[in-house]
Assembly symmetry: C2
Homo-oligomer: 214 residues x 2
């Protein structure tokens, strides 16, 4: 068994000395707008294959969307166990979720979704400049970064211009800390084919369809 | 049922315009050292009465303590459901946990604990200056802040000198966002008697007894 993994040098750990420097510079430059609302909802994915669900829960709660149903006690709040409308949770627990299914789940739960497949060759990550209430979720292969595992989803928590890198708020917190990665490498990681679907990956831009109501 | 609560004016929301100003000033002043490792582990308490357990899980994972047992899959990682050694979880789920029992749980799980009851009249929150690997957990009454509910635990995520306030990383994220509160008001909130124990509350200073091993 494992207590975390060592982050490969392709990433700069958020809380490391260099990570804090990047953070301070990005804050001063105004490219961390999206960080505040997202980090308020930072979570550990509830199951080892729930990276998509954990990421989506973060974004739905950060968008302040009311799920319209209770979680526990009297509280209406998104939790991974409630995201069962597009694919049986048991299947996601075993195999994870595909890019298209995650976009479907986001729409079903009150988000406006712009879904961009990397095959579309669109300019990626413009959204990472960070308007609040619009969050970027990337679907990528960890292999590009020399990380263990393969397909993964992460919300993007900010952008640092000097190093042209973005902050990945990795929900597999039992494995890697949040970390900065180069934008070009991230784009290559998005362009890697998902062996389960035979398609390249992509990104989602998520906003609230109607704030405060599903 | 409720979708969050409005934060009373005794607190300044972390992601509000003013909250971001306080954050930027505290970052520049060097009083956010503890923020980085703690926010990496920010979580929602898993049950409505698990504020103590949620807070402790944040701190144990932020201290990088290896629980020595697996959570899910091959991963050793702290989760509230694993903190069952000092008090039955079912009791905590119904009634919450007392200050002394939480200190006991922290010790049992590999933390070095300095426990200060507010009745001791110690200087509170010196720890909020924020050396990494030493985190402050406060036990207080929400009533002092005009918030609904009463007894609560929160980790302290930073200090802002100009306003003499601290950042509470409130794990009841379904209710309130993280927020800044005045240190004097927090001290009064710590000094309020806990009706369940008849004692005043206090704070815990937590560090790793032996990093990487329980």
């Amino acid at each position: 068994s494992f207590h975390r993994r060592v982050l490969p040098p392709s990433g700069i750990a958020f809380a490391s000395t260099r990570g804090r420097e990047l953070f301070a510079e990005a804050l001063a430059a105004g490219t961390l707008h999206c960080f505040f609302k997202l980090i308020e909802q930072f979570c550990t994915q509830a199951e080892p294959a729930y990276c998509g669900l954990g990421t989506l829960v973060m974004v739905l709660n950060a968008l302040d969307i009311d799920p319209g149903r209770t979680w526990k006690g009297p509280w209406r709040w998104f939790h991974e166990g409630m995201l069962d409308c597009c694919e049986p949770l048991e299947d996601i627990r075993r195999r994870g979720i595909t890019f298209d299914k995650l976009a479907c789940l986001a729409r079903c739960n009150g988000a406006a979704v712009r879904s961009v497949c990397s095959g579309d060759n669109a300019a990626c990550c413009g959204g990472s400049s960070g308007r609040v209430h619009r969050f970027l979720v990337v679907s990528y292969s960890r292999r590009e970064f020399g990380q263990t595992g393969d397909g993964h989803f992460s919300p993007v928590g900010g952008y640092h211009a000097g190093s042209d890198s973005v902050l990945l708020l990795d929900v597999a917190r039992f494995k890697y800390p949040p970390h900065w990665v180069g934008l070009r490498a991230l784009w290559r990681a998005l362009c890697r084919t998902d062996p389960d679907t035979g398609k390249t990956r992509g990104y989602l831009l998520l906003s609230a369809r109607k704030p405060g109501a599903p």
